[in-house]
Amino acid sequence: MADLSVNICGIDFKNPVIPASGVFGYGREYEEFFPLEKLGGIATKGTTLNRRTGNLSPRIAETPSGMLNSVGLQNPGIDHFINKELPYLLEKNTVILANIAGSTPEECVQVAEKLENTDVHMIELNISCPNVKQGGAAFGTSCEMASEVVSKVRKATTKPLVVKLSPNVTSITNIAKAVEDSGADAVSLINTLLGMRIDINTRRPVLRNNVGGMSGRAVFPIAVRMVWQVANAVKIPVIGMGGIASGKDAIEIMMAGASAVQVGAVLFTDPYAPVRIAEEINDFLDSKNISSVRDIIGTVKPW
């Protein structure tokens, strides 16, 4: 049995596998399958200052080895999260990353301020959600806007601040460096890639929102590449995600430089995926006689 624990920004995770924001709600539904304490951590559904109703349906489309979503940040608002969901989650003996978003830097600041007096372990600031019309897309796609929102939120919170990056940019390393310079304690990537499907019989886009965020297995090589580039460009820890479906995928993205992983779309195929992936990481380490998962982080030997 290898040591699966990792430490990010001073927070201990019992294993490196974290369900990604948006696929896991606030955890209750998946508790039917396994106890939440088996998880390294939980990234909760993106939460904004006020309740959001989200986009019209259809919000889901299938793509070859992947999917699109245009949920549009439907969420009950930060007060509901703090009063109704967080106390329950904090009993579960796992790290809670509160994923937050807003339409303006001020909204992000207000949400972070509300979390300051709670026991949530980390804040994950989504500057990248591509499918909310007035949402985070703008911040995550320019260094100036990313710096502005991160430095403002930085001032509002003493919690470890993870900034979640958008892949829909020309240079993700430039954005990563900008948010590091603005006070981020870690970065997580990748959020979804903007995509589209059209029903050729009706000539209508499958998604009512026309476009949506792509994730799932198909995006994995892009995620590995971006994690590798970002890990080489910044000194802060990187949390990797995008298309991870097995322990081997998790190992691969950790070798590229990720200190932990998040898993999203794979839960829709296999609801036990986070637990299975942690076990598979252990099996790989045991088979190679590696005593700790920390020993593989960033160990790719590039040509």
């Binding site: 948006g22 709600g25 349906s57 839960l267 609801p271």
Partner: protein
């Protein structure tokens, strides 16, 4: 336990019309808790997303479920290639089923096309108290008529092209008898459901309808399957997989 995921044995497979298949599946733990109107979420091939299919029959004694589905695309095509003796990966039972009230003296069950299967488990419960009205494109698409008759229900058949049964839509015979019913249950295409909901509303009859939406998780976590509803006079995006698939027709915004 509310729901579970497992691989279950297919005990029986039948082709019951062109491109329409019926599976009987051994899954005692699911049959034990499943109710009429709930659905199963089927993993197939290399597809990331599972396919939702309504429960058509529940046999607690035998520990089996029945599903009936039509081949619509690559996923259902893949499922249709499974055979008796194969296993099927299901997340089940999911969702919120129909309200069953033993005090109802007369109920009307309406199925349009491939929306017909979930009505069979209801017919099994209400038996002679039920009138089943089903509608299909054409005679070659008609399914489940004998199964409905076996429950003791009165059975009315319609086809769009008149090749068998009444020539016309289900709403025609339905509007003639709606006033005799304590409750109406329906599943089928949206325009049909909208008409039925309208008729029930005018006649002040309790009506529940089963909706479809594209799904990912199937359990209420991803918020992918939103449908517009009214709650306390306020518009609210409910989720078909968890709050539904069965909704009170008055709540649904068409």
């Amino acid at each position: 336990m509310k729901y579970t995921q497992g691989k279950y044995l297919i005990l029986d497979k039948k082709s019951i019309a062109r491109e329409i298949y019926s599976f009987t599946i051994s899954c005692p733990e699911v049959a034990e808790i499943a109710t009429a109107g709930q659905f199963v979420h089927i993993r197939t091939g290399n597809f990331i997303l599972r396919r939702p299919v309504s429960i058509c029959g529940i046999d607690r004694q035998k520990g089996t479920l029945r599903i009936v589905f039509e081949v619509r695309g690559a996923g259902t095509e893949e499922i249709s290639r499974l055979n008796q003796g194969d296993v099927i990966d299901m997340l089940a039972p999911l969702g919120h089923g129909f309200t069953i009230n033993p005090d109802f003296k007369k109920v009307i069950l309406i199925g349009g096309g491939i929306g017909t299967p979930p009505m069979l488990s209801l017919a099994g419960i209400y038996g002679e108290k039920a009138t089943v009205i089903t509608g299909f494109r054409s005679a070659d698409a008609v399914i489940l008529q004998n199964d409905f008759r076996k429950t003791g229900a009165e059975v009315i058949l319609c086809t769009d092209d008149g090749t068998t049964g009444i020539h016309g839509f289900v709403t025609q015979p339905f509007s003639e008898i709606v006033n005799s019913a304590d409750a109406v249950y329906a599943c089928g295409p949206m325009p049909m459901l909208k008409n039925i909901a309208g008729i029930c509303n005018e006649n002040n009859v309790f009506c529940e309808i089963s909706l479809e939406e594209r799904m990912a998780c199937g359990i209420g976590a991803c918020l992918g399957c939103a449908c517009r509803t009214l709650r306390n006079d306020e518009e609210y995006f409910a989720h078909v997989c968890k709050d539904g698939p069965v909704f009170n027709a008055k709540e649904v915004i068409f």
